[in-house]
């Protein structure tokens, strides 16, 4: 019984939606059955897999690229008081700028295509990851750093045996939140900067013939994959921290 509880909200919403759509067929919002049929149509046309893979591909590369730069940057800023004083105001200034505001610049630099979208994911992920790493470094118990200094650890061992394990739990939380942000941003980026992916599906379905069943199908897929991504990262997080 309690296993079904998490699904009651979804089931109730689907039922209400279907009833409302059936009662007002003239309205432009298609019911869940139509949306399911639209997803089926996408699958048959080979677009389902293609678009999902395209979106995940962009998120993966943008996110991994950001991780590659953000962890060293966050560590350096976390360890160096001067570096932080010099650069933190800049980071704070960039933070309120929505990654979507970068879309024109992305297109200017990289044209319409995958690279633009990957760049936007990178921009969206880099700051939160850097700040999460920096905060995690700040939160290291000073006693642990003192002990490492006392034993005169060579730098690479300090990194591997003290810094990385010390920041890992907090870093993983930051990584999970950032995957969510990256997934939000990829959809918006695809609406403008590319010709494939779930974001493109939504905007294209509306532009080319007002296919609102496909629009909602795209939205549903985004939701489902977003949840799956979150579960995946959560699972990795649990495996690493226990």
């Amino acid at each position: 019984m309690s296993k079904l509880l998490p699904f009651t909200g979804i089931a109730a919403a689907l039922a209400a939606w279907q009833i409302a759509a059936a009662a007002h067929p003239a309205s432009l919002i298609p019911g869940p059955l139509m949306v399911a049929r639209a997803i089926g149509e996408l699958a048959v046309r080979g677009l389902l897999l293609k678009y999902v893979v395209a979106s995940l591909f962009r998120v993966t590369w943008g996110y991994l690229g950001a991780l590659l730069f953000a962890i060293p940057a966050g560590m350096a800023l976390g360890l160096s008081r001067r570096g932080e004083l010099a650069l933190n105001p800049l980071l704070q200034l960039l933070r309120p700028i929505s990654p979507l505001a970068w879309i024109p610049i992305a297109i200017l630099w990289f044209g319409v295509g995958d690279l633009s979208a990957v760049f936007l994911i990178f921009i969206a992920s880099f700051l939160p990851l850097t700040l999460a790493t920096m905060k995690a470094v700040h939160d290291i118990d000073p006693v642990h750093l003192s002990a490492a200094r006392n034993f005169d650890l060579p730098p690479y061992r300090l990194l591997r045996e003290v810094l990385m394990p010390a920041i890992l739990p907090q870093l993983l939380v930051g990584m999970r939140i950032t995957v969510g942000i990256a997934w939000l941003v990829v959809v918006a980026a695809e609406m403008i900067a590319v010709n494939s992916g779930l974001g493109f599906l939504i905007i294209d379905a509306r532009n080319a013939g007002n296919r609102y069943d496909l629009v909602v199908a795209g939205m549903a897929l985004i939701g489902i994959i977003g949840v799956a991504l979150d579960l995946l990262v959560r699972r990795a997080e649990q495996r690493i921290t226990t």
Binding site: A147, N150, D152, E161
Partner: protein, 244 residues
């Protein structure tokens, strides 16, 4: 003399914390630095350990001026100094990175046994009691074979029974390993139970008020007249009537 404090003073901003500390500690001696909270005793130990630089004066060890932390002198924090992401073995072997695997394993086994943690080698700190974690930290310090140990109120967070056990364990280890020990505490009884000499500091700014020699052989009888006399002498020195 092993450790020599020469005119050590320390201030943080305008706050004077230590004022002209002069002290000599012999090789193999167990010295307790005793004083009320905030008297600067912990600061003094951090200066000796090389983690802080004194505002004036210097500390020398074997005639060499202390300029930073050094593997030959290990600082033992309260039990929170153990690394939670390493097992007991990993913690104890933490400083042994320059030994061969075989040597490292041998050392770890020796110190696991010395501090009575056999059977817990693969346990993580979160699975251990406070006293056991403290043993891990002491073993980690001893494993690199330092000649001086600095202990900063190491048993302060333990319950009173465990604390008594840990004191006798520390004395046993000290006698077996012949280290010079500088031990900071605010607990008068603890200092009289452990030390060869008790250095009594004044309230801030810390000055050496008195050095009391504890001329009782180990194991010490905590109800002997000499023990009680020395304890009361220090109580008097600190200005406590020892009555409740």
């Amino acid at each position: 003399m092993k450790v020599r404090f020469q005119h050590v003073s320390m201030h943080f901003g305008t706050t004077e914390v230590l004022d002209d500390i002069n002290l000599e500690v012999a090789e193999g001696e167990f010295v307790c630095i005793l004083g009320p909270s905030g008297c600067g005793k912990s600061t003094l130990l951090n200066i000796t350990g090389g983690f802080l630089e004194p505002s004036a004066g210097q500390v020398t060890i074997d005639g060499e001026r202390v300029v930073g932390p050094d593997r030959r002198r290990i600082f033992v924090f309260q039990e929170r100094g153990v690394f939670p992401w390493l097992t007991v073995e990993g913690n104890i072997g933490f400083g042994l990175f320059d030994l061969s695997d075989a040597e490292r394993r041998g050392r770890i086994a020796h110190y696991v046994a010395l501090v009575g943690l056999k059977g817990f080698e693969r346990s993580y700190p979160r699975e251990l009691s406070g006293g056991m974690k403290q043993r891990v930290e002491v073993a980690r310090a001893l494993a690199v074979n330092p000649d001086v140990l600095y202990l900063d109120e190491p048993f302060g967070a333990l319950d009173s029974i465990t604390r008594l056990q840990m004191r006798s364990e520390l004395l046993r280890i000290w006698q077996a390993e012949k280290k010079t020990i500088l031990f900071v505490t605010h607990d008068i009884e603890e200092s009289v139970q452990l030390a060869d000499r008790v250095v009594v500091l004044s309230a801030r700014p810390g000055r050496v008020r008195r050095i009391v020699e504890i001329d009782i052989a180990h194991p010490r009888d905590l109800s002997s007249p000499r023990y009680l006399a020395l304890r009361d002498e220090i109580f008097g020195e600190i200005g406590l009537a020892h009555k409740i």
